[in-house]
């Protein structure tokens, strides 16, 4: 038996609150999630301008700190590493060797130490003979700016500040030197 519905004279305010409140909540949720899902990871930085950063350098270096934007006009290789990162061991000596080979051509290597303790970091650098400017990522800011999802990750930045290649994981000799050649031969603007 159908029941008779008397026509409501006014729509319940509670109903409207529930309806619009619910819609708003869903909208807010989707918006927040969408923003987070679009979180830029390092791979998305390919062909983008390299985010600027300033990191202090370890005690053995003359300079106190290094800022990326001050190096505009020179190619820069930024390598995120950590002493506890097993994969980093594979490329450590290679990176140092590449630094030695290319520093006279104006390429700057920067090592950013990610979530590491100074004691262990210095021991690592001593072990692999790392002499290029390296320092801790204070406040984890550079790591977050570059969206790294692990270590090692290396960013090859040309003279104009563009990231021409994002390397996830350790790099091997041949691709490394190819990229370095490209960085030095590309004209600056």
């Amino acid at each position: 038996m159908e029941q008779t519905l008397t026509q409501p004279k006014t729509t319940s305010p509670l109903r409207n609150i529930v309806l619009f409140g619910g819609l708003l909540a869903v909208l807010a949720l989707v918006a927040i999630m969408a923003v987070n899902l679009q979180k830029r990871e390092s791979v998305d930085l390919q062909n983008q301008q390299a985010p600027d950063f300033t990191i202090p350098l370890f005690a053995q270096f003359e300079q106190d700190s290094v800022t990326l934007s001050e190096l505009r006009g020179q190619p820069v290789v930024v390598n995120f590493w950590a002493s506890w990162c097993v994969e980093c061991y594979k490329e450590a000596e290679l990176l140092e060797q590449a630094w030695q080979d290319y520093k006279d051509q104006g390429v700057v290597f920067i090592g950013i130490d990610h979530l590491d303790t100074e004691k262990e970091a210095l021991a690592y650098m001593a072990k692999y003979g790392i002499t290029y400017p390296s320092g801790p990522d204070m406040g984890d800011k550079a790591s977050q700016a570059y969206g790294i999802t692990g270590v090692p990750e290396t960013f090859f930045i040309d003279k104009n500040g563009n990231i021409i290649h994002v390397q996830i994981g350790p790099i091997e000799r041949a691709p490394l030197y190819t990229l370095l050649n490209k960085l030095v031969t590309e004209p600056g603007s």
Binding site: Q3, T6, P8, T10, S12, W84, K119, D140, K141
Partner: protein
């Protein structure tokens, strides 16, 4: 004159020896760190490379290194707060288990309280409305029929000598 010189030399040599001993002593007295003191601080921090576990409970090598770092800082005489500040400076606020109660993060604590108060208010208002028999303007005539559970309940109530 010669005696003064002798004594000055003696004092000088003695100072050097004492200083040398003082410097050597910490090396030979190497002890285990106070793990419990370290863990008390580490419990308030997060594992840097894993999530959902705190620094004291995490068994990775990275966590062990970080705990060593805490030990070093404590040995230097830092207080717990100073150690935590050091880590926040070094690695960001994400290392803390409990975000600092300032700025936007206050909303973490405040919002649930506000929601519950709001809910309680709505509940109270609604209960008052239901407790007073004033009819609402729009009505739907629906007569609730006997539901099966009513029978169960009346049976049990009968069994229970209750009200």
């Amino acid at each position: 004159m010669a005696r003064t010189k002798f004594f000055i030399n003696l004092i000088f040599v003695t100072s050097v020896l004492v200083t040398a001993l003082a410097l050597l002593a910490p090396v030979s007295l190497a002890q285990d760190p106070d793990y419990d003191a370290i863990n008390r601080i580490a419990q308030k921090m997060n594992c840097p490379t894993c999530t959902g576990i705190n620094l004291a409970d995490c068994r990775t090598q990275t966590c062990a290194q970080w705990r060593d770092q805490i030990g070093d800082l404590l040995a230097k005489g830092m207080t717990e707060d100073e150690v935590l500040d050091y880590f926040v400076n070094q690695y960001g606020t994400q290392v803390l288990q409990e975000p600092p109660k300032s700025g936007f993060t206050l909303w973490l604590w405040v919002l649930p309280v506000l929601m519950i108060i709001l809910g309680a208010g709505i509940l109270f208002y609604t209960m008052r409305k239901w407790a007073s028999p004033a009819a609402a303007p729009e009505t739907v005539t629906v007569t609730p029929g006997p539901t099966a559970s009513d029978d169960y309940l009346s049976q049990v109530e009968k069994d229970l000598d209750f009200d």
